[in-house]
């Protein structure tokens, strides 16, 4: 299945969904040369935003990834919760995270995100590199550790570039 991350992000943006891009793709947009196969976002869990998000998920034909053949769709109660929903959409895998790290929500992360132009007149909120590194350090899984060295060095190079 071809991944169209830009189309997925555009659909969220154009429908007014409040979200912050986190995870590997946030690392890529911050300049880290890493591979990632899905889009991870933390969304605002207000009733209005959950309704907007649900409409986008329907348009993207989103189903739970664990058993895609059963075509189980997330409902509003899933989207209002603090847990993680691993979905498969027509544009590739999408992970919806109610909270990350030690229970940090969209509102908590907003001050640690930047408004980033991803082309085509689309601007999205992306988690900053400092916070991304801190979260990966906190999680400490094998996958996170593998990515951590590259994220740390990207942060160093970004700071060096600013003073050069």
């Amino acid at each position: 299945m071809e991944r169209k991350f830009s189309a997925l992000l555009r659909a969220l943006h154009e429908n007014g969904v409040e979200f912050i891009l986190v995870g590997g793709l946030a690392g890529v947009l911050n300049g880290a040369p890493i591979n990632t196969f899905d889009v991870d976002i933390v969304h605002a869990r207000t009733p209005e935003n959950v309704a907007r998000l649900q409409r986008v998920l329907e348009s993207l034909d989103a189903v739970f990834r664990i058993q895609p053949d059963r075509r189980l769709r997330p409902d509003a109660s899933h989207l209002k919760g603090p847990g993680h929903l691993n979905l498969l959409t027509s544009q590739g895998p999408l992970d919806l995270l109610g909270t990350i790290g030690s229970g940090q929500s969209y509102q908590d992360l907003l001050p640690h995100s930047a408004d980033v132009n991803i082309g085509g007149g689309i601007r999205i909120r992306v988690l900053d590199l400092e916070t991304l590194v801190a979260l990966k350090e906190e999680l400490g899984g094998d996958k996170d550790r593998a990515m951590l060295s590259i994220l740390r060095q990207t942060l160093n190079e970004t700071r060096n570039k600013e003073v050069r």
Binding site: V28, G31, P33, I118, S149, Q153
Partner: protein, 54 residues
């Protein structure tokens, strides 16, 4: 007298990360980074598909 040349930047970090690749990524705009990553990923998936999804 000409200023001494600054020391060349190392290509790799002590833990083996390719710093030249990071510097190249940082020279791109976020939109270009997204476009490159998307193309790269789809190339990998296409190669995997050609090899029976292995």
């Amino acid at each position: 007298m000409a200023a001494p040349n600054p020391a060349p930047l190392p290509d790799y970090s002590d833990d083996g990360v390719d710093l030249s690749l990071i510097r190249w990524m940082l020279s791109l705009t976020p939109a270009e980074r997204l476009q490159f990553h998307e193309q790269h990923l789809n190339d990998i998936l296409a190669i995997r598909e050609l090899n029976g999804g292995a």
